[in-house]
């Protein structure tokens, strides 16, 4: 029964999966068990994405599916016990740029891979980054940007992290359309990634996974 839910979700058969969850709730299944199955399914989806079997449409659908699942089981969940997280990440699109599709995918992939992700949105000022870093003390800061004008904004952000004395506490990754290793060097970031899978791989490596 339980294996079945994992398969249905991993195969993105959303209607069947949701029907099954509803009947499980009615039968008195512990919602935490259902949640565990969902997590397992999301892991499989993440793996298939990394393997090039799934693409953004599948990822988008799975995100939607998870929202629907949470809507069903949330009222039945008792107090959340927090899972052990791999690490904490502050993520945002830098000042002047409001592109969010790539950033959202990276946030989603990091999240399902066990990271605590603080997504502070788009058009994020240097000060907002600094404030969030001071607030949550992350292991990693991830800067996103799509326009060619973000090179300097990323550099400014990283410079500010340095001058605030926070640079030694965090690893910094950058990504987005025109970002490459040359821009990594220019901005002083530790790494850049071409896509969400690379973001996950870099983050895991940094956390010693």
């Amino acid at each position: 029964m339980s294996k079945n839910l994992v398969e249905l979700m991993a195969d993105l058969r959303e209607d069947e999966a949701l029907d099954l969850i509803k009947s499980q709730i009615e039968d008195g299944t512990n919602p935490r068990e259902i949640l565990e199955d969902c997590k397992e399914a999301m892991q499989i989806i993440g793996d298939r994405f990394e393997a090039g079997e799934y693409f953004l449409p599948e990822l988008m659908l799975s995100g939607e599916m998870i929202n629907d699942v949470m809507e069903i089981i949330k009222p039945h969940l008792k107090d959340e016990e927090e899972d052990e997280k791999l690490g904490t990440i502050v993520l945002g699109t830098v000042k002047g740029d409001i592109h969010d599709i790539g950033k959202d995918i990276v946030a989603f992939m990091l999240d399902i891979n066990g990271f605590e992700v603080y997504d502070i949105g788009v058009d994020v000022s240097v000060q907002e980054f600094i404030d969030k870093i001071e607030e949550v003390d992350p292991d990693i800061v991830a800067l996103s940007g799509f326009l060619t004008t973000v090179f300097d904004k990323m550099k400014d952000t990283i410079d500010a992290i340095k001058s605030e004395g926070l640079r030694e506490d965090v690893k910094i990754m950058i990504g987005g359309g025109p970002i490459d290793d040359q821009i990594r060097e220019y901005t002083g970031a530790d790494a850049f990634g071409d896509d969400a899978m690379e973001a996950v791989a870099i983050a895991k490596k940094w956390m010693g996974e």
Binding site: L12, E14, G52, Y54, F55, L56, P57, M60, L61, G63, E64, K95, G96, D97, I98, H99, I101, D123, L147, T148, T149, F151, D152, G177, P178, I179, D180, Q182, I183, E185, Y186, D194, D195
Partner: protein, 448 residues
């Protein structure tokens, strides 16, 4: 509007020739001297040779320029969208100082006043949601709801006027009360159909609409003069006639939004396919009309959501390519040159876009992060390719590095013609010396 009296009798090749002939001999450009006119014609011929996969005298140089002239001339992006004198100063300075084969057009910057009057919601622009020095950016949303495919399919123009426009232009929100024009069938219908126009908020929206029209006319006169002057005084042709889009991107970028449309791919795939078929002739007509009006056969098609990292090959073949291909063929049949700008990468698509059903020597593919050697391999003898000096190199490299890159690129892919030297992205930010180095390297190494 057509270019010749016997247009409908011409075949696609004759239309192609007629468009280039007219592009090369423009009646509305008053060249300052014969030398300038000669330079203009040479540039057009260079482009035509590259498109037809022949060797021109040298590789055409056509970097993709966005807001960079503002930075170069020391004005803000916001000023360029509102103050056409400053726009003229900046673009004139840029075109003069860089002087590659084509003009950097001032038309893509857009009229801020018009957007403001219409209360444009689909975009944020400098001073209105983005900072004064940052380019305009699209704000995705579900401007079309999941249950509205049938309305779009039944009557695209009606849907645009009564549903889409009221959502993307705050000032036109009252247009949701407009009846479709198709109501106006017989005398008894007329009164019923007209009365909503009299409603006070609808009247007000039309006043805004008229105001925006006046502002747009002022703008088109200004940019027409700026670009026209670059042609007349410097002998630089424009690089772009019309603009159109892939039907999938129309749905994704501006109607449904990327995420909702991707979910539709599972929940209502047939509706997407049907809607895209409806959009095909509209996108062809838009592109052809622009090419004719601007007397330039190149029709720019920026490609977004079909790239390698967005969807699988199977999804590309099912959802993206068939209707894009129809748009390409439709444009070519009217003698136009589809100028396809592949943002991101098409490394997994090169064999698919080398489609044997597409006419040879009639399209131009501009690449960003696609492997140029592979692109040449697949498209050789089929389509012209261009690219792909990166924004990062132009912004943070040295002049020597830029020159080396261009030299290697030309060595790798310019052989036999069919290559245009360009940047892989639209340049908003750059080091002037590097951009100049790219152009110089093109002149130096690109001679056949």
């Amino acid at each position: 509007m057509s270019l010749t009296d016997n247009w409908s009798e011409l075949n696609p090749d004759e239309k192609f020739e007629a468009r280039f002939e007219s592009f090369k001999n423009p009646e509305d450009i008053d060249f300052v001297d014969e030398e300038t006119e000669k330079k203009y014609k040479q540039a057009v011929q260079r482009l035509k040779d590259a498109i037809e996969l022949n060797e021109p005298d040298r590789v055409p140089i056509a970097p993709n320029i966005g807001f960079y002239p503002t930075e170069y001339a020391g004005i803000t992006a916001e000023e360029a969208m509102y103050d056409y004198d400053k726009l003229a100063m900046a673009w004139e300075k840029f075109n003069k100082d860089f002087d590659f084969d084509f003009l950097a057009t001032s038309t893509m910057i857009g009229p801020g006043a018009v957007f403001e009057t219409l209360d444009y919601q689909l975009y944020r622009w400098p001073g209105h949601g983005t900072d004064e020095n940052t380019s305009y950016q699209c704000v995705e949303d579900e401007y079309m709801k999941a249950d509205e495919y049938d309305a779009l399919i039944a009557d695209p123009s009606g849907f645009w006027m009564r549903d889409y426009l009221p959502r993307i232009f705050g000032s036109l929100a009252p247009w949701s009360q407009l009846p479709p024009f198709t109501d106006l069938v017989e005398l008894p219908f007329v009164g019923f159909s007209m009365f909503p126009i009299g409603l006070p908020d609808v009247q007000e929206s039309f006043e805004k609409y008229l105001e925006a029209g006046r502002q747009a006319l002022e703008w088109i006169q200004a940019v027409g003069e700026i670009d026209g002057k670059a042609s007349a005084v410097q002998g630089l042709p424009g690089f772009m006639g019309g603009v159109t889009k892939a039907p999938f991107d129309v749905l994704s970028d501006t109607l449904r939004g990327t995420q909702p449309l991707m979910i539709d791919m599972f929940r209502r795939p047939e509706k997407i396919l049907e809607a895209m078929e409806q959009i095909v002739p509209i996108m062809i007509e838009t592109g052809v009309r622009g090419a004719t009006a601007n007397n330039n056969p190149m029709v720019f098609i920026p490609l977004h959501k079909g790239a390698d990292s967005f969807m699988s090959r199977e999804q590309f073949l099912k959802f993206y390519w068939p209707t894009l291909k129809k748009v390409i063929i439709g444009l070519v049949e009217e003698g136009c040159v589809p100028f396809l700008f592949v943002e991101g990468a098409y490394n997994e698509r090169l064999d698919l876009i080398a489609d044997p059903e597409l006419p040879e020597g009639r399209t131009y593919w501009l690449f960003d992060k696609t492997d140029m050697v592979e692109a040449k391999k697949h498209l050789s003898g089929k389509a012209a390719i261009g690219g792909n000096v990166s924004a990062s190199l132009i912004k943070t490299g040295t002049s020597e590095e830029v020159k080396d890159y261009v030299k290697n690129l030309i060595d790798d892919v310019a052989d036999g013609g069919g290559f245009i030297l360009s940047t892989g992205v639209v340049v908003d930010d750059a080091e002037a010396e590097n951009l100049k180095a790219m152009i110089e390297a093109g002149r130096e190494y690109g001679v056949y």
